[in-house]
């Protein structure tokens, strides 16, 4: 299906990442957002509030992030594509409803423009410190999808991808930006609607008497009912059977929770997006994501000038983690350098996937500015030694 032209601002623009993200949401068909102001993410919903009444849709500013993160889910069940936008402290408040979206299989998108923490931390300065929180922040076992843009163009593109994944797999999907990507202004090309592929909502074609709200299809994902059409659907955050009815038996829990996990795990290859460069023959591969990948590119270029054989692997899909690709790289290289704007989050996954086949070296950063390319270069040279 192609994008609804009403939401697509076709043309070549000069936009920051936050505004590009908003345009991506509109192009993807988002017609509802509930938000709460927080730096450095607010520009996304400020633009949405200005744009959506001219496209046909609703923005509401809620009383807090607890409300924002559940209001959008009410809107999804009401028939809208919906999203919210936040940063660290607000993201912490939203954890409860990430679990609700995972459990009720509510397709929705959360955008987190990361800033330095913990707590109020660095409101106006960058970090990549929510990468584990996005994966594990709500209680219980579940899988989510998280994407990491490294430019305003990707903020546009990956927000569309996020909506498409959320509809296809019926899970919350996260656009994990950072303050630099959110606030940097670059050329953003928005295609014509016919060139934007949109995943339609999986509405059931069964009549109400034959429909079971949580009976999965072959891909382990159930179809959705439309409310107000006599399906009398029951949606609950309690463990539930295929009818959606609460059922506390361990066997029901086992079937449900394994399905919530497997519907993502079984499709890792379809969900995994990455950028790989000069992996063949490399002695060292630098793994990074978001804005840090652009600093790492400088370090990689500097190392190559020194004659080192250095490859690049940029995570675009951070979750589910691309274990297979990292394991393959680890089997071939001397070492892997992981640069990220935190004191060691995704590096744990790289270490796990590498499983001792290669040295893994973290170049951490507590946040507030991007890395110095020289720090990453130094790690590359040490690992190559």
């Amino acid at each position: 299906m192609h994008a609804d032209p009403a939401g697509v601002l076709t043309g070549t623009h000069f936009l920051d990442g936050d505004h590009a993200c908003c345009e991506g949401a509109l192009a993807a068909g988002a017609r509802f957002s509930s938000g709460y102001p927080i730096t450095p993410s607010t520009e996304v919903v400020e633009r949405f509030a200005a744009r959506v009444p001219t496209v046909g849709g609703t923005f509401i500013q809620m009383e807090d992030e607890l409300a924002a993160s559940i209001t959008l889910q009410g809107a999804v069940w009401g028939g809208a594509k919906a999203f919210t936008v936040t940063s660290g402290p607000g993201f912490s408040l939203m954890m409860e409803h990430i679990g609700y979206a995972a459990m009720t299989e509510t397709p929705c998108v959360f955008v987190d423009v990361q800033r330095g923490g913990p707590s109020t931390g660095l409101p106006t300065l960058p970090a990549q410190q929510d990468m584990m929180q996005v994966r594990w922040g709500s209680h219980g076992d579940y899988e989510i999808i998280a994407l990491c843009p490294n430019s305003p163009q990707e903020c546009f593109d990956l927000t569309i991808t996020a909506f498409n994944y959320s509809e296809k797999y019926r899970c919350p999907v996260f656009v994990m930006m950072d303050e630099v990507v959110g606030h940097m202004t670059e050329k953003v090309v928005i295609p014509v609607p016919e060139d934007i592929e949109i995943e339609p909502r999986r509405y059931t074609t069964l009549p109400p008497e034959e429909f079971l709200a949580y009976k999965p299809g072959a891909d382990l994902v159930p179809d959705m009912p439309r409310v107000g059409e006599g399906y009398n659907v029951h949606v609950t955050g309690l463990t539930h059977d295929e009818r959606g009815y609460p059922d506390m038996r361990p066997a029901v829990q086992d079937v449900l929770v394994r399905r919530l996990v497997d519907k993502i795990k079984n499709n890792v290859d379809k969900i995994t997006l990455f950028e790989a460069d000069h992996i063949e023959g490399a002695e060292v591969v630098v793994v990074s994501y978001g804005i840090t990948s652009r600093v790492a590119q400088k370090a990689i270029d500097m190392a190559r000038q020194k004659g080192l054989k250095v490859g690049k692997f940029r995570l675009i899909t951070a979750w589910p983690f691309p274990e297979k690709q990292i394991a393959e790289i680890a089997a071939k290289v001397k070492g892997i350098v992981v640069a990220e704007m935190n004191l060691g989050q995704m590096v744990r996954e790289v270490e796990r996937a590498a499983a001792g086949q290669a040295k893994v070296r973290l170049v951490g950063h507590a946040g507030g500015s991007v890395h110095k390319p020289e720090d990453i270069l130094k790690a590359i040279m040490e690992v190559a030694r």
Binding site: S34, P53, G56, Q73, G74, A75, H234, V235
Partner: protein, 293 residues
């Protein structure tokens, strides 16, 4: 002598998910009684059930959404109102009822409740007030009236309590009423009136919790509580809400306290539409629902 077959049919059965009965509520609890009144109100007011959605939070009353045969959402603790807000705004043709307890709506969910009332979102809120956190074992709630024993105030409560009608009126509700589980007819009539209103509407229903409130305070069982309600309730329609606070054993003022309009522009949906249409003129794209393909 001929034999006649008598079929016993409960007129509210079609309104319930009979495959989920028996329910979890204790003997003497008033939640089921209120659901009966709700079912009668829907029938008597001829409400289109297809376009009626019910949203509950967590707790004993939170289970109502699971027993009624409607599009129904059992959400997270305290967040029924913001979920319902999204449902209503994205799909304005739906008639959205929030059915939850005093702890869910006024403790953890208190902030959402006052803001929804402030905005005048078109939600019909039924609050079953059993004066404690019942699902978790009878802990003190923001509604527990002074000097009663709860599991977290074993020597008696001393936290001052909320007067729910007063709070909700101050926050902006257009309809506020209170009944008890004894007043089944009056409650059903109030619910019918609520369905006719547009804007944030609120009914408090006092309910016994024989297991965790009455028993612990030596106030008898469910039947004793019905007798108590009958004895101490005074119908005072139009009573100032500042005068209807509850105490452990004093008078229970019941009735319709507030029935008003807020300005000419009405509920939140109208406010939003008029404001945007006025500011944007021809650029405003009006939609009946934020539907996706």
């Amino acid at each position: 002598m001929s034999e006649a077959t008598v079929t016993i049919h409960n007129p509210v059965e079609e309104f319930l998910r009979m495959d989920r009965i028996p329910h979890i509520w204790c003997p003497g609890c008033g939640i089921g009684t209120s659901v009966n009144s709700f079912a009668h109100a829907l029938t008597d007011a001829n409400i289109d059930r297809k376009n009626l959605a019910i949203v509950s939070g967590i707790g004993c009353t939170g289970r109502v959404a699971g027993y009624v045969n409607l599009d129904s959402f059992h959400t997270t603790h305290g967040r029924a109102i913001p979920f319902a807000t999204g449902l209503k705004l994205a799909n304005p043709k739906l008639n959205v009822v929030v059915y939850s307890g005093d702890g869910d709506l006024f403790a953890i969910g208190g902030n959402h409740l006052i803001h929804a009332a402030r905005r005048n979102i078109d939600l019909k809120v039924v609050c079953i007030n059993n004066l404690v956190f019942a699902m978790t074992g009878g802990q003190t709630a923001p509604t527990t009236p002074g000097a009663v024993v709860t599991s977290t105030n074993p020597y008696g409560t001393y936290d001052p309590s909320f007067n729910l009608p007063y709070l909700v009126e101050a926050a902006g509700a257009v309809y506020v009423a209170r009944w008890t589980a004894f007043h089944v007819k009056q409650l059903a009539r109030s619910m019918e009136e609520m369905f006719a209103k547009k804007g944030f509407s609120f009914i408090e229903v006092l309910s016994p919790c024989p297991t965790l409130y009455q028993r612990r305070n030596k106030m008898g069982d469910g039947l004793d509580t019905m007798k108590f309600y009958k004895q101490v309730s005074k119908v005072r329609n139009g009573a100032p809400t500042s005068e209807v606070a509850l105490s452990k054993s004093g008078e229970i003022v019941v009735g319709k306290f507030v029935d008003r309009e807020r300005g000419e522009r009405g509920d939140y949906g109208n406010l939003m539409h008029d404001s945007l249409a006025g500011a944007l003129g021809e650029d405003y794209v009006e939609t009946e629902a934020c539907s996706c393909q």
